[in-house]
């Protein structure tokens, strides 16, 4: 098992290293940003079971935070990114504290409402540039040595952050905290009766997910030198849900695959199919939910398990032995 995992990691790093030779680097940067975003979202839905329909609020706010600190305060990129993450984490904490009072679909609605609120506020603030967007964010010099104006340098930064974010998510999920989260997801009343203040754990999970989404948003704003209201819009929140579901919830690779798929689809189809884009994406999305409920990665995982089980001589789960 460990070998396959190491192999996967090596493969992923290698793929990231050679990819810019074949694909337009800035497109990969965008893909990676959304992959981080979807993975961060997965931390909520996939591992905590809470559907947030307002995750764009983290993505967008972090972008604006990075923009303001770098453009107006002259902070270097590393601090700008940190500022983005911090702002997103703070929003995660505040929004989480409110939303956590309800569960399931209500949670989704409340997060949606909070993110709409933030959207409208951003829309009415002078300093965000409203719907004209926040322009002219400098890319700056990382740690005072690496000039990010160079696309490849920027790509390196984003790729490194991507790996780091995936590792962070893996670590969070398997950490002692992750264990408590699993328990809460499995049986919340029981977790309460064991003395866990479940709301606090959920808020922390929401905050962490927000912070990582913020990382994604900040990186994207840095890469594009630009931030817009679209990054706060509920449609983006819907899109990130879609990415996760398409790729496979509760797996590390799923959201990444889902994000790549959706962004590439949008990227390549839009100019070719024009008006039909939303129909096509909708149909693909519906088909996936109805036919491959576990997402690409989940279904492939199941299939591999099945093959392995067949090889190993198991035919089916043991049954009837109760």
């Amino acid at each position: 098992m460990l070998n396959t995992r190491t192999l996967m990691i090596v493969l992923a790093v290698a793929a990231l290293a050679v990819a810019p030779a074949f694909i337009y680097p800035m497109l990969i940067v965008k893909l990676l940003c959304f992959a981080i975003f979807a993975s961060a979202f997965n931390l909520m839905l996939g591992y905590t079971g809470l559907l947030s329909f307002g995750h764009a609020m983290f993505f967008g706010s972090a972008g604006y935070a990075l923009g303001v600190t770098m453009k107006h305060l002259g902070w270097p990129p590393e601090l700008g990114i940190l500022a983005g993450v911090a702002v997103a984490a703070l929003i995660g904490f505040l929004a989480g504290s409110v939303a956590i009072r309800r569960q399931g679909i209500y949670f989704a609605m409340i997060t949606l409402a909070i993110s709409q609120l933030i959207y409208f506020v951003a829309m009415q603030m002078e300093w965000t540039g409203r719907d004209d967007g926040f322009h002219g964010i400098p890319r700056g010099t990382l740690f005072g040595i690496i000039d990010l104006q160079d696309d490849m340098a920027l790509y390196g930064l984003v790729a490194a952050c991507f790996l780091l974010a995936l590792f962070a998510i893996h670590r969070i999920v398997t950490s002692p905290f992750g264990q408590v989260l699993t328990a809460i997801r499995e049986n919340e009343p029981r977790a309460i009766s064991l003395g866990y203040d479940v709301d606090r754990y959920k808020v922390l999970a929401f905050t962490l997910s927000g912070a990582l989404s913020g990382l994604a948003g900040a990186l994207k704003a840095l890469a594009l030198s630009y931030e817009s209201l679209n990054d706060l819009h509920w449609a983006l929140s819907g899109e990130v849900v879609m990415m996760c579901i398409l790729g496979g919830l509760g797996t590390l690779g799923g959201p990444v695959a889902g994000a790549f798929f959706v962004i590439l689809l949008q990227n390549f189809l839009a100019d070719k199919v024009g008006e039909w884009l939303s129909v096509i994406i909708g149909v693909v999305f519906l088909t996936c939910i109805l036919a491959f409920r576990k997402g690409f990665v989940g279904e492939i995982g199941d299939w591999i398990e099945k093959m392995r089980a067949r090889k190993g001589g198991f035919t089916a789960k043991q049954e009837g032995n109760r």
Binding site: I172, Q179, N187, Y196
Partner: protein
Amino acid sequence: MTHILETVGLCKEFRGFRAVDDVSLRVREGDIHALIGPNGAGKTTVFNLLTKFLSPSAGRIVFDGRDITREKPAALARQGMVRSFQISATFPHLTVLENVRVALQRRHAPTYAFWLPGSVLSRLDARAMDLLEQVDMQDFAQTKAADLPYGRKRSVEIATTLAMEPRLMLLDEPTQGMGHEDVERVTQLIKRVSAGRTILMVEHNMKVVAGICDRISVLQRGALLAEGTYAEVSADPRVLEAYMGSETELEGAH
């Protein structure tokens, strides 16, 4: 004799309907104390009040000398008052060992540490196995809780509850829905784990009550009807009429 748990004039109204009416209950430290009574007498409601899943309309609850009327449920569990559920409550997709470990983790390992690897929890394994042995579940340590037979789930639940090192355990119908064999096992288990702690339980099975309970309180229509040892209570004609019925051979009911 000290009382570990005391309620003073506890009341609970649901939109005008008094489910619990001025109940002053006293549970002595170290006892197995049973709460019995006809259906709808308010037993589960009392439990819910004690464990803060409901808040009382009036009255006070004192646990170990401290007023806990306004405490949050999780905080109460941390002080040693732990409830096990009427419906079997495990974490179905965790293994038996992990089930117990989650309970141990709260006291003995980090719980918010999202930056640590999961392997730090393995230092709880020995202790968890220890608890599993107490309920005779060591052989099932790696089984998923969902795959266990019903009675065994109860055992896991009790082991999990024990991991909390409770001073007072609240058991709501621990044998409900169990076959005879399991009833027997769980009864013995309760007896065994009662050493060094107090147990308050709701139970309809008179055999269990008669077998292991030191004291019994009888509720009826939300109010306390009688209290005493099994012999005292079962001799009370009001209890016979309201609860046990005409059959003198009590076990006959179950």
